[in-house]
Amino acid sequence: MSSDKLLSVENLAVEFDTYGGTVQAVRDVSFAVDAGETLAVVGESGCGKSVTVQSVMGLIPMPPGRITSGTAKLRGRNILGNPIVGGEDIRGAEIGMIFQDPMTSLNPTMNIGDQIAETLEVHRGFTAKQAFNRAVELLEMVRIPEAAKRAKQYPFEFSGGMLQRAMIATAIACEPAVLIADEPTTALDVTIQAQILDLMNDLKRDTNMAIILITHDLGVVARMADEVAVMYAGQIVEKGAVDDVFYRSAHPYTLGLRAAMPVNDREAEHRLTPIDGSPPDLFHPPKGCGYCARCPAAMKVCNDVVPPEFAMSDTTDHFSRCFLQHPESSAVRLDGLYRKEVSA
């Protein structure tokens, strides 16, 4: 695998002990991202997207959480389970992170400027004054008007979009190599979403940082990502360059997601098709493919064996964990899977 990349995660598995039993939230997940690249991780709620990145950042409460296997390497150094490398915390310094709900993700009793500044004080050794001045500059950089005045205000005086900008300013304060954005636009209005995404793209271009973007919005993926990893039931079921995954989808789940997404095309007689059922219970993960129970093209093998990664071509990284890609499987036309009602 590509351990020479900026950040690479390999064979990550995370479990949670709950009253109901042990949940295998993440099962054998690997991905990598390079400077200037955006990797999007998509999937529905509860599929393990957030747990994956939070365990990389050491934000999983342990107990009940537990990382049972895997490595995460930043420039070749393992950071998993021990994000403090060489006496200095890489969190905030090397990897910045922004969260889904900016309204609750900022300290309500500390002014915005101080919240940005404290990262600089801790990681860069700035004095309080230097750090605050830099915080004002950062707020300007994320396009907050009257930054000097705004820095002295408290989160409740900001709107959601402005708070997310402030979050981004905090995350990039120390010019990290990687920015992890955990559903950064989910809680925001659509127009604000676009602004935030543009801002992230501009920052990536200017600073050449890597972005890991977690979302369940395929529209956001199309707009931002270079590479896409589709997660389902704690596993990456398909991964590849954004065009490969979108236009040469090789997993029924990816197709299902696409069919459930509205498209902006009046000509197409396209009906939104939901995926029936719900994700499997991860207390007892299925023996075979996690998607088997909901898959319209399921085969007997799917029920018994976890599908391996089938490479889709020799030249790209595109792979799919689906037995339909097995040479012995009868060639089911994947494209038609979710279009039955329309074609009939």
């Binding site: 029936d276 059922g277 719900s278 219970d281 088997c292 129970a293 909901r294 898959c295 093209a297 399921a298 085969m299 007997k300 093998v301 799917c302 029920n303 064996v305 391996p308 990664e309 037995f323 097995h326 012995e328 499987s329 009868s330």
Partner: protein
Amino acid sequence: MAEQSFSADAFEPLHVEQHKQVLSRPSLSYWEDAWIRLKNNRRALISLYIVIALLAFTLIGPLVWQIDPSVQDLDQVSQPPWADRRATVVEPYTPWRGETLDSPGSGLRTAQPANTQAVRLIWDVDATAEGGYRIYRNIFPIGPEKAYGLPLGEQFSPDETWFEDRLDLKARGYYYTVVPLDARYQESGEGETLYVEVHNAITAQGAVKRGLIEDAAAVREGDAIKLALHPLGTDYLGRDLLSRLMHGARVSLFIGIVAPFLYVLLGVGYGATAGFLGSRADAVMMRFADFVVALPFLLFMILFKIMFGIGPGESGIMPMLIAMVILSWPATSRLVRGQILQIREEGYIGASRLLGAKTNYLVLRHMIPNTMGVILVTLTFAVPSAIFTEAFLSFIGMGVAPPTPSWGSMCNEGIKTMLSTPHELIFPALFISITVLAFNLLGDGLRDALDARMRSRE
């Protein structure tokens, strides 16, 4: 990835009822769910049993243990439960004029076996004791501070080397000290101290009178008979503590349960009315509730009692109840009003209304079940605070007054003899504490079981 080999039909389509969603758990009603949660909360369940046991203690207890709480057992005053109940039958009391034993040099000693009828002391002549002797009694060892305790009396001649103590004797150990007096009757020199273990004694006639034996002729002097049983001992008037605790529980639990029930009811009515009326009426009603909250609670409890014309030292259970209801409802009303206002805005109420539900139906089907949990929890937490209030008022003598027992007034009486007979304070205090503890834990459990919004993170 190593190539695997699969069976021939591995790639056949899978035809099972794969798209059916199965309900993995049976559907439970709100109360069924709450009961299961409560049953799984061990602390709450034990508390529930304790509450039931306390109610049984109060209601059934006096039927089983039929001792009158106001009858005094003068043979056993302030006796702890572990006191020795054996009493020796003795002759009726005859006066004693002292005696001089001819074994000088053996110091302070008892002339006859010490019992609750009398303790008879003799000692050696002290030639320096020109003024005689002073005799003290203490229930504690004489420390370096020379605290001899209670002065019992004097002998004004150096030759009068005897003393008889008949003062309120209990079956326990006493430290007697004899101090010589000089010519001016000032204490001179060190006292001599003797530890005396006093045993119960009873005359045959006395035993018959107390109903301990049938016939005075059946026992002889020196026989041992058992005094009346007091499982938790007796108080300073010789009254049975267990019986008093049972009767006291009636007062304490009556106030503790009825008062909260009434004021929670009043609060629910007031709060629900305010919440329904809304706007101006709501604002006025809630402002009034704010005023009532601002009244200093305990001071007004006392003020109300005076207002009812009940002076200190007189019992007033009803006025206490009324005062508690008048002063305590606002907290519940505020809570219920908040709930009603919140529920009114909930989507499901709108949906129900859209489907044509009438106000009555909305109230019965949605509003009441959804506030019931909060009300029940409030009620449970109100019980301990009402019990505390009763105990507090009775303790400062402004609640239930003697002879009516209540746990608070029993504590008040017990604290006076706390140093010598702590059990008189400890038992009622224990009952208050256990009751309050049980209701608090039960309240915690109910809150966790009934209301997700109030659920504590534990």
